[in-house]
Amino acid sequence: MKGFDSGLLIKSLVALAHPQKSMPSETRTWKAALADQIPPHMAEEIDTFESQMELRVQDKLEEKVFAELRLRRGAYGQRYDNGFRDNGRESVEIPFPNKHLTKGPGTKWEAPGMQRIKIPYGGMTAEQMNVLADIAEEYSDSILHITTRQDIQLHFLSMVDIPDMHRRLAAVGITVREACGNSVRNVTACPLAGVCRDETFDVTGYANETAQYFLGHRDVQDFGRKFKVAFSGCKQHPCGLTYMHDLGLIATEREVDGQKQYGFEMYVGGGLGAVPHLAKLFDEFVSPEELLPLSQAIARVFARLGEKQNRNKARIKFLVAKLGIEEFRRLVIEERAAIEADPEWTSWLGKIPEYEEGGLPEPLTQGAAPDLGDEAATFDYWKATNVYAQRQAGFNAITIALPLGDITASQTRLLADVVRRFTHDTIRTTVEQNVMIRWVHDADLPALFLALKAINLHAPGAQTIIDIAACPGTDTCKLGISSSRGLAGELRRRLAHKAMQYDEAVRNIRIKVSGCFNSCSQHTVAEIGFYGSNRLLSGRRVPHFHLILGGKWDHNAAEYGQSLGVVPSKRVPDVVELLVDWFMRDRQGEEAFPAFVNRIGKKAIKEQVKPLTTVPAYEEDPSFYVDWADAREYTLGDIGIGECAGEVVTLTDFGVATAESAHFDATLLLEGDSQNGNVQQAQDKAFESMAKAAQALLKLQNIDISDDPDAIVADFRTYFYDTELFFDPFAKGKFASYFLKAYESRSDTATLDSAKQLIEEARLFIEASHECYGRMAEKGITSPVSFKKWLLDNELAKA
């Protein structure tokens, strides 16, 4: 593989696109141009991938194998890459010239894709920023998108450009290896590390060395799912979000025999995703010397015992939940004792001081502060929201608020200049989809503000209510249900008008929007979160969002919120306005928004929101049937106008609504004091909600279905699980298995964790019931008669 000629692949692909042409032989290649600048092992990896691309083009490499290889280099698919796109009226095949070519199962080779670029701890250099800008212009759409895990993503890429892009990144020390795939993903860290006023110590070096140690490590190649690691310098702030990671490390200290020791609180088994889990404390003090060996032991136990067949249960959170933290800890300690010592566990410790940063010796604008003129008021507001006074007197960390995490290539290049002028190259990406310039002198703030203004990066409101995080959603993500970016953009425009009126308590509210239940925007831990959903009304799909309240962004995301039900997309801005106005009007003293939500209670809030959950008839207002930033009538497929408004459908609608109501009651039972004695009741109620949803669907098979859970489960298994009718196109039987498992363990004693988990699983099961109902309508299954016919057809098809 090492000697593979990259030109061959390019020629093959050009020949595919233009059979009449060939590439000019005199064209210089990045492979040759950068040969001396790329570390040999990185060059070899890229060459190997390029050869794998060639093999795939020649159909000599299985598509599913190539897909995993591609993903392990961060090269994802994008929406419509199955070769179909709905134009609002019908699903239409995209006429790619070489439709037979695929880059994964059901994934067209020529469809645009996305590249995720790992930025360990969010740290970049100006040189790297320049290269990122160049590749965004030349291969992408000139936009760099910062993710909620401090990565950078580029969209609308062609496969043919991937190897050269990787080479250009490698030449400035950036690897894309394991940016995706079932391995250790980007290791994140608080962007204030080293300058935070409240941190125990700077975690930067530890985060980066951990990232480097596990990059390509043999013990992280056999996971059933991805593994995310985060570092935080303190417990109280949200910057590191350690409680929602597979492995979370929080800097800590202790005193032993009069000697101060530094180390980490280690947490394991956290995660958002469809079913959020807060991480469990694994060890209250892990020394720096033990950081890597213990993490490695955790990785080995995860690789050995973690689920491999069922992806939906394969994150380490499920293993920790299954074994219990005590047993998991015992196994890890046993594993730790058995691992052969590795010098690399500690060889890096001496390098930690090298991560220490500093500022310029003198302010750039010493004695010559620029006149802000008309910008003085904006500067003051910007200073109040975007500037953080560092622990080091006289220095500041400045957050640059990027709208929806986006920055242009030109801005990136000019920002690199600003970073070089005002600092020693100290900039980081943040989990709130922003970038942060550190080590700016007090005296330089006005000049920096003007420099940022010159490149349109001076927007105030960083890390406030208008600084909304959003995942790609239906813009580019294959799993997107609703337009998270469209909604976030709309919310941002509306809130920005009022932003100056908001006091600090309102400004501190975080809004996060995901396009589906997978929590990529981290909506579960936002003060106000939304995730995409949809409802079928009179035969038409309507984009909706679940409203999530009760999340706690502070304290490293210490609490996740619950759904209060769905709201039509077009009414979400009104819901946000209602909540914010209510909070401004009725909050008590210094009460923060999460405390306000707890005091008012979700039930009362839901009542207030209820009038905003109605959807006008299509004929009355068709705009509700179109998503934000789109013009097509909203669909999940080729639905059109159905004939499903019969009696039985109404009963099913009603039944699912009952299930939703029971689910909401379950969440209320755990509200406020979680140790309130309602845990068992909450768990029972969650199961009841699932049974109600299943019963609602069964009414389409047997209108007289019993209320007895035994009968419901038996019939559900027969008619919806065994037939795979309930199976989600992507998650398959995942959501159904939640219900069946809940039934089997319904007599188990509830714990707070098990009740919370079942409530989350019930939410997903009910959501899946909505989806199943919609799919049944599409298939014409609207009555027991049509159900029977479908069953017969299904059996015949299988025979």
């Binding site: 696109a17 233009h18 009449q20 042409k21 590439m23 000019p24 064209t27 210089r28 290649t29 990045w30 141009a33 929406r79 419509y80 796109r85 134009n87 609002g88 009226r89 239409v92 995209i94 006429p95 790619f96 010239p97 020529e110 469809a111 645009p112 320049n130 800008a133 160049d134 212009e137 030349e138 759409d141 000139s142 936009i143 609308f156 062609s158 709208p403 929806l404 986006d406 920055i407 242009t408 030109s410 801005q411 290049r413 349109n456 990066l457 813009d475 970016r485 469209g486 953009g489 941002r492 425009r493 930033a629 789109d630 013009a631 097509r632």
Partner: protein, 188 residues
């Protein structure tokens, strides 16, 4: 010669367009296949200052009514250029872009709100390796531009000038003629 380049036609200074109006227009064009190529998607970047605005992504070309460099206009990034020579490919991209522009100018939903300057366009070399932002690269590419411009602006005196920009930006060249030219005339 180069496979990677972009062109950009600036909007008339008086253009005052509600960019949101472009979203349904571009979606309709995809549905109705109003322009050639494999049409893929519409992207909304209105939230990005000086950004790509509203894009229409195709397999061959990324079109955008965008604000790059603080100048609003229609740009087109060639991804799979059509033509045997660089000059052919440039003529093809310019004509495709002009066709797009003429169609937009004529759309009743933005009637009178969009007018593009057909008498000049930027050529942007989107290949820093083979066409860096240098005088040498400009000299190497100029003959191709002259040939292409003779086709695009047949019978007119063409000026080709390198734009003075940040050396890290892409090599950018302004191709222009003195008299006003309609987009429809270039597209033909």
């Amino acid at each position: 010669m180069s496979n990677r380049f972009c062109v950009k036609f600036l909007a008339q200074p008086a253009t005052n367009l509600d960019e949101e109006a472009l979203i349904p227009i571009f979606h309709d064009w995809i549905r109705d296949r109003k322009i050639p190529g494999v049409l893929l998607d519409v992207v909304d970047y209105r939230h990005v200052p000086d950004g790509p605005g509203i894009m229409l992504i195709t397999h061959e070309i990324n079109y955008a009514m965008e604000h790059g460099g603080g100048e609003y206009g229609l740009s087109a990034q060639a991804k799979i250029p059509e033509g045997e020579t660089h000059g052919d490919r440039l003529v093809n991209l310019v004509q495709r872009t002009a066709q797009f522009g003429a169609l937009l100018e004529a759309d009743q939903r933005v009637s009178g709100q969009v007018k593009l300057q057909g008498n000049q366009f930027y050529y942007i070399a989107n290949d820093r390796l083979n066409y860096p932002n240098t005088d040498e690269a400009f000299a190497a590419i100029k003959a191709d531009l002259e040939t292409a411009a003779a086709t695009i602006y047949s019978g007119k005196t063409v000026t080709i000038a390198r734009v003075e920009n940040d050396p890290r930006e892409r090599l950018t060249i302004l191709v222009s003629v003195a008299d006003a030219v309609e987009m429809g005339a270039i597209a033909a």
